[in-house]
């Protein structure tokens, strides 16, 4: 297996890693399926958590959550997780798995991975990738967000696995320990969809996530006319980066979910889900329009007002609310 690892490029690191890993362990599952069954889609606006002085805006569940929900839902699927205090021990454990011919998932920091373009290397500690082999002192890596396979030296990989700070990976290594022969889609698809819809929709009790989170952010943006303009411009650019760049956020996730709905519709033969998939695609397009507005505001182009961006975000919130309410009681 080591030699012929099948690298399927993906849109997002965590779901791509899990999908590629499970495929190499014999369970055929696509990236959108992993994302959907893990109920990965959400929105969260966390003012308290700052990244370079700007609040965290997330468009998906926190790292590791998708794998946890996935194993919770699919019976017979179990993952083995291991973290290490000692970096050398962590590297030895990795080598051991690789010599057995098994691929493993790793949590790493993008900053210490030299195969990333220099401009993209930020201190983001929750990047997932698959290590599938070692030759001389180089590790063979299948990084799901790259179109091709990559390699990295042992020193760099060690630094990336044991980087410090928020969401520190602590050398996290994971692989499936039990894999089922098949998945009971009739059971798990409606369950995962209802969970996602309730988590984001009208009955969500958390004031900074789901629809409520979007409205909160919209309210904040509308107030930017009176704010420090340097900060406001950085904030608008930051929204785009959180949405499009880091882990292929926002709109990207909406399209992954739409792809999941389409695949599900075919699997359990539901025309209702086909319609919802089209609806999600439209919502994703609206997110892209929102990104265009934000980018213009971050450059202070004439003819753009903060209220336009706020209005666009509220429009998306309305569309998504409708979407979630339709799906929150979904039964096959």
């Amino acid at each position: 297996m080591t030699e012929e690892f099948i690298h399927t490029p993906s849109a997002h690191c965590e779901t791509g890693t899990v999908s590629n890993l499970l495929r190499s362990y014999g369970l055929e599952i696509s990236e959108p399926m992993v994302f959907g069954l893990g109920s990965g889609m959400t929105f969260a606006y966390l003012k308290q958590i700052k990244i370079n002085g700007l609040p965290l805006i997330a468009y998906r569940m926190p790292p590791k959550m998708i794998i946890k929900l996935l194993t919770w839902r699919i019976s017979g699927l179990k993952f083995h997780y291991e973290t290490f205090r000692n970096a050398d021990k962590g590297m030895l454990a990795l080598d051991e798995k690789l010599t057995q011919g098994n691929a493993v998932g790793l949590q790493t920091s993008v900053f210490f991975l030299p195969y990333f373009p220099q401009a993209m290397r930020f201190h983001f500690n929750a990047h997932n990738l698959v290590a599938y082999g070692k030759e001389n002192n180089e590790y063979k890596i299948s990084d799901p967000v790259f179109s091709h396979l990559v390699t990295t030296t042992a020193d760099d990989l060690q630094r990336a696995r044991f980087s410090k700070g928020a969401l520190a990976p602590k050398g996290l290594m994971y692989y499936p320990s039990e894999v089922p022969d098949s998945i009971d889609y009739d059971l798990v698809i409606p369950k995962s969809i209802r969970f996602m819809a309730k988590m984001n929709g009208r009955w969500n009790p958390v004031p900074f996530s789901g629809i409520k989170g979007m409205r909160l952010l919209a309210k904040n943006i509308a107030r930017f006319d009176n704010a420090d303009q340097h900060y406001a411009q950085l904030f608008m650019g930051h929204i785009v980066r959180m949405q499009e760049e880091i882990g292929t956020g926002g709109a990207g996730f909406r399209f992954i979910y739409a792809a999941f709905l389409q695949e599900s519709a075919n699997l359990i033969d539901s025309s209702f889900l086909h319609e919802r998939s089209t609806e999600m695609t439209q919502i994703g397009d609206e997110w892209r329009d929102f990104a265009v507005l934000c980018a213009r505001l971050s450059k202070k182009r004439k003819g753009q007002e903060y209220s336009d961006a706020a209005k666009q975000l509220n429009k998306i919130a309305d569309m998504e609310l409708d979407f979630y309410q339709r799906l929150s009681k979904f039964k096959k």
């Binding site: 490029p9 993906s10 849109a11 791509g16 990236e31 959108p32 700052k50 370079n52 002085g53 900053f111 210490f112 373009p117 220099q118 401009a119 993209m120 290397r121 930020f122 201190h123 967000v145 790259f146 179109s147 630094r159 980087s163 410090k164 700070g165 928020a166 520190a168 411009q233 950085l234 650019g237 930051h238 785009v240 980066r241 499009e244 760049e245 292929t248 709109a251 990207g252 399209f255 992954i256 739409a258 792809a259 389409q262 695949e263 998939s277 695609t281 994703g284 397009d285 892209r288 990104a291 265009v292 934000c294 980018a295 971050s298 450059k299």
Partner: protein
């Protein structure tokens, strides 16, 4: 998004790498396509990098004038900020800030210097110096 609407606006920052994006093809089916870049993203990334450069330059001037230590310069140069560095090194922000004072910085033990250097991804000798123009 429709497959034929995929933006392809490459930028040298991406060093030729492309990004995966799920799009709808002519038959209405979802598939993974690749995009070379999109202007709003490029704008946002450029802005973030420029802000880091601005802070780095500011810190460098402060170090040259003797108002700050090389640690502050390297923190920004390695794309970190005070809260991030404090979490990474396992100290309170006021403790790290103390090491921004040149008089305190020179008193740091070799071990502390090495800890900072490891977190920032540079070596200990580099951490003690600033680049000459």
């Amino acid at each position: 998004m429709k497959k034929d609407k995929i933006p392809n606006q490459p930028h040298e920052m991406y060093e030729g790498e492309t990004k995966g994006l799920y799009t709808v093809n002519a038959e209405g089916q979802y598939e993974l396509s690749r995009t070379a870049g999109w202007e709003p993203e490029t704008i946002a990334l450029t802005q973030a990098l420029e802000e880091i450069d601005r802070l780095t330059q500011q810190a460098l001037n402060k170090v040259k004038q003797g108002h700050s230590s090389a640690l502050e310069y390297h923190m920004y140069a390695q794309r970190m900020d005070l809260p991030m560095l404090a979490v990474a090194i396992g100290k309170y922000q006021w403790q790290v800030k103390r090491h921004f004072k040149p008089a305190n910085f020179v008193k740091l033990s070799q071990q502390q210097i090495e800890e900072y250097a490891a977190v920032l991804g540079i070596d200990a000798i580099t951490l003690k110096t600033i680049p000459n123009d």
